[in-house]
């Protein structure tokens, strides 16, 4: 027991070239509730994974009361009394709740049998104490996410930790149960547990925590007492509105001629609700018909994909020659939108119109033949076949052009793949296995395949995912090139800067609804940050 100090923690991920933590120093005081907030990719989770032994830092140390701790695995962290409830809990699906809780720490009878009655009574006591109702005899595979997190929390309490890290704990409870979360946290505090909350929900941080640390770009920006802070201030700290988006970006935007015939957009100062936005963007007779039109698009997740966030009546349009970004924080509906628009998922209600014809429910092959290109978030799982050659990945959309009587014409394929290699500066032979390429080159292969056919609409999710600066520029250039040729690009991104840099308009999602549609040149980062965090809906 005592204060924990994270000293000069640095962590670099060479596989995607990201410095997740850069000499981070942080003190966790005994008995406090400490919130760590930051955008996606700010390094907050990495830092806590280091504390909980899941990741080893490249540099730095962890000290308890000034004494260096040896934490090389989650097991060693537990021995020091430090445990973490992950956002996505790993359970043995076939085991019951009880078996999952005691896994690895089973009490034994004298002849080696698991003493379940003893375990059960101890856990029942914990359930009573913290009001964490759960059926101990249900198999884990029947549980929802919140049930899984309850198990993880009970397991830590059962293991006897003193420090509990909670990753996005409001997913632990249903919306109407947040009072319960508060009670659990207070109860834990009164029993002298030290709690660390990782969250991107500012309201939550301010509501529950004593102190809050803000992470941005792999660094700890500041730590403040929650009494000194308002949501607005915290939001500014989080997105770093004090720093203006880069100069190069301004230049790039100026060089690009914006499409002239855009529909009017909502003024940036007055974020719209979904319904009023519709009224605003419904094109008048002066506008060309939109290439993509969402009409009250709604999705309610069923039992088999309960993890996908719901969408409520989403309305927006994308016009030819326009780059439109949809942004928001993870789990606010971006991933659902991607699945719906790409044809992998059917909407519950509402319409998706492409060139004024409904495309909801069409097979993906049909969408492809109508010149809709799509670069998924899951680049390596969905967007590429790693065990195939570069050439095989390149011809996915075009192989039918190369066959005569069912036979693939080798020369034509070689010509095609050689062309792509040159045009997109791919540093690999078409014969190479894709998995042997660097991340950046794999991206180029995917992008080259999707845009070589001049699509009329490109759905581009997280464009600069895993790219270095040069790669980023390359991707943004390609987006600009497409729009200048009259194609529409729909960017789905959780990165505000990316949205600002490559889009003409930005749709901000919050909790499955459109929280505002803004014009990029009339808005600043802080404003979008606030829309993303749903600040206005709580004001």
């Amino acid at each position: 027991m005592g204060n924990i100090d994270l000293v000069d923690i640095t962590k670099y991920f060479p596989e995607n070239g990201v410095i997740a933590n850069s000499t981070v120093n942080l003190r966790i005081e005994e008995g406090e509730i400490h919130a760590i907030v930051g955008e996606n990719g700010s390094g907050k989770s990495t830092l806590m994974h280091i504390l909980s032994g899941l990741i080893r830092p490249d540099k730095g140390s962890i000290r308890m009361n000034g004494k260096a701790l040896r934490i090389n695995s989650p097991h060693e962290a537990l021995e020091q009394g430090i445990g973490m409830v992950h956002q996505h809990v790993q359970l043995v699906r076939e085991f019951t709740v009880l078996e999952n809780i005691i896994l690895g720490r089973e009490p034994r009878t004298w002849w080696g049998r698991i003493d379940s009655p003893q375990a059960r009574s101890r856990i029942q006591a914990l359930i009573q104490e913290y009001n964490l109702q759960i059926d101990l005899d249900r198999p884990a595979y029947e549980l929802s996410t919140e049930g899984e997190q309850k198990i993880a929390l009970l397991a830590l309490l059962y293991a006897g930790v003193n420090y509990i890290i909670l990753d996005e704990p409001t997913t632990l409870f249903e919306e109407d149960e947040t009072d319960l979360l508060h009670r659990v946290l207070e109860k834990l505090r009164s029993h002298n547990y030290t709690l660390i909350l990782i969250t991107h929900k500012l309201r939550e941080a301010l509501h529950y925590a004593d102190r809050v640390s803000v992470m941005r770009g792999g660094r700890r920006i500041t730590t403040l007492s929650t009494q000194e802070l308002s949501q607005g201030e915290l939001s500014n700290l989080m997105v770093g509105s004090d720093s203006i988006p880069g100069q190069s970006l301004k230049l790039q935007k100026a060089q690009r001629t914006p499409p002239k015939n855009l529909p009017p957009t909502a003024p940036p100062t007055a974020p719209q609700t979904a319904t009023s936005t519709t009224a605003h963007t419904t094109p008048g007779h002066v506008n060309p018909s939109p290439i993509l039109q969402l009409q009250d698009l709604t999705y309610r997740p069923g039992a088999d994909n309960a993890a996908l966030p719901a969408l409520h009546k989403v309305n927006f349009e994308v016009h030819p020659g326009e780059a439109l970004a949809v942004t928001g924080i993870r789990e606010n509906g971006l991933e659902t939108l991607e699945q719906l628009l790409s044809g992998f998922l059917l909407p519950s209600s509402g319409g998706i119109l492409y060139k004024e014809a409904s495309i909801a429910g069409l097979p993906i092959r049909e969408l492809r033949s109508r010149h809709i290109a799509y670069i998924p978030t899951e680049r390596l799982l969905r967007g590429a076949s790693l065990d195939s050659s570069v050439a095989e990945n390149m011809i996915l959309l075009n192989y039918r052009d190369f066959h005569g009587w069912g036979r693939l014409k080798k020369e034509e394929i070689e010509h095609f793949t050689g062309n792509l290699k040159q045009l997109f500066n791919i540093k690999a032979s078409p014969k190479d296995r894709l998995s042997g390429l660097s991340g950046g080159n794999i991206q180029r292969v995917i992008i080259s395949r999707e845009i070589i056919n001049s699509p009329e609409l490109l759905i581009f999710s997280e464009p600069s995912w895993g790219l270095d600066i040069a790669g980023r520029e390359f991707v943004f250039d390609k987006i600009a090139e497409l729009t200048s040729r009259g194609s529409a690009v729909l960017i789905i991104t959780s990165d505000i800067e990316e949205a600002l840099e490559c889009a003409d308009r930005i749709v901000v999602m919050y909790r499955g609804s459109v929280n505002g549609i803004v014009q990029t040149d009339q808005v600043d980062k802080a404003e979008i940050g606030r829309l993303m965090l749903g600040v206005n809906s709580y004001a």
Binding site: S389, A391, R400, P430
Partner: protein
């Protein structure tokens, strides 16, 4: 299209076989009273005389087809466990077809028989594919169960209603001699089916790597999500690889009757289905490695049989030996992964 398999495949197969033979040499003194003689008869296997050699090559040919059947299923991401029944059904349908059309001229009958057997096998295996497509039934289970029941049914037919009462064997009547494939090395069983097998390797390779359907099949097998994303009709590829696989197994059974047994005998094709899986795995699911894979597998099988006849080698030991090879070849142990990463 190009295949992306590195040369380390050959290396690892070689190492696996060397290791298996080494294991045998080490264990032989414990298991045999005359280890030297046993080893000699094992290694000599097919080289004892031309008769053995012919039979050896004949079996290699049949195994190639069975292996190819599995390779196509595997490449399409499907697991056809029904090879036993499909081969047997192919053999029976060939026999029945040729017995029912005695007036056909030889080559036409042969071509007809191949088509009938391929169709029968494709139908049986394709059914499992259709079940998977419609109700997501596990093709591994359904093909296995279907095949098992077929084996018993055919056993019954051959020993009962269809049995040739003049024969001492549990066998159907023999097909007319005009339908039999030309023998290449009498009195051994070697016949034209070996050449057919080599031809099928070429066709299989062409199909998988140089046609658009083969491309669709492989992409679906490697990454179903990716195939769907690219607009490949993935539903179809539950059926196609299974049907092709079953068809090839059927052809294996057919050629066995046409060139080797001339009748359907009870249990005569037994093992071909399972060995197809083993050979496909040794070949690393690649048609161009089928010939060496089938040779290796048959050599070990032949050697074991030989050593059983000429020395005190036990059947179990032979089986263990095959298991060692299979295990070593299919296990992708870390050493080779490192080599592969370095592109050696």
């Amino acid at each position: 299209m190009h295949d992306t398999r590195p040369a380390s495949t050959f290396l690892s197969i070689g190492v696996a076989i060397a290791a298996a033979i080494l294991a045998m040499i080490v264990a032989l003194p414990l298991l045999s009273n005359s280890p030297v003689q046993t080893l000699y008869s094992f290694l000599m296997g097919p080289f004892r005389n031309w008769f053995y050699m012919g039979n050896f090559l004949n079996r290699v040919g049949l195994y190639i087809i069975a292996g190819l059947a599995m390779i196509i299923a595997f490449q399409g991401g499907m697991f056809n466990l029904g090879g036993e029944g499909q081969v047997y059904a192919g053999a029976l349908s060939t026999t029945m077809f040729l017995l029912s059309v005695p007036k056909l001229i030889g080559p036409v009958g042969v071509i007809g028989a191949v088509c009938v057997a391929a169709g029968t096998g494709a139908l049986i295996a394709g059914l499992s594919g259709l079940l998977k497509m419609k109700w997501n039934t596990d093709e591994l289970i359904s093909s296995f169960l279907l095949s098992s029941s077929l084996v018993y049914t055919i056993d019954y037919l051959v020993s009962g209603p269809l049995r040739n009462s003049e024969s001492f064997l549990l066998s159907s009547s023999e097909i007319a001699s005009k339908f039999r494939l030309p023998q290449l090395l009498p009195p051994s069983h070697l016949n034209l089916s070996l050449l057919a097998a080599l031809l099928l390797i070429g066709l299989g390779y062409k199909y998988l790597f140089h046609t658009s359907s083969g491309y669709e099949l492989r992409m679906t097998g490697l990454n179903r999500e990716f195939a769907r994303y690219g607009g490949i009709p993935i539903q179809r590829y539950y059926f196609i690889p299974m049907a092709l696989s079953g068809g090839l197994y059927g052809i294996a059974g057919c050629l066995y009757v046409l060139g080797t047994s001339f009748a359907t005998m009870q249990g005569s094709t037994s093992g071909m289905g399972w060995n197809g899986i083993a050979i496909a795995l040794i070949a690393r699911i690649h048609p161009l490695l089928l010939l060496p894979a089938a040779i290796i597998f048959t050599y070990l099988e032949f050697g074991a049989e030989n050593a059983m006849i000429y020395a005190d080698f036990s059947f179990e030991f032979g089986a263990v030996l095959q298991a060692i090879v299979l295990f070593l070849v299919t296990a992708r142990f870390s050493g080779f992964r490192v080599l592969r990463k370095k592109g050696i």
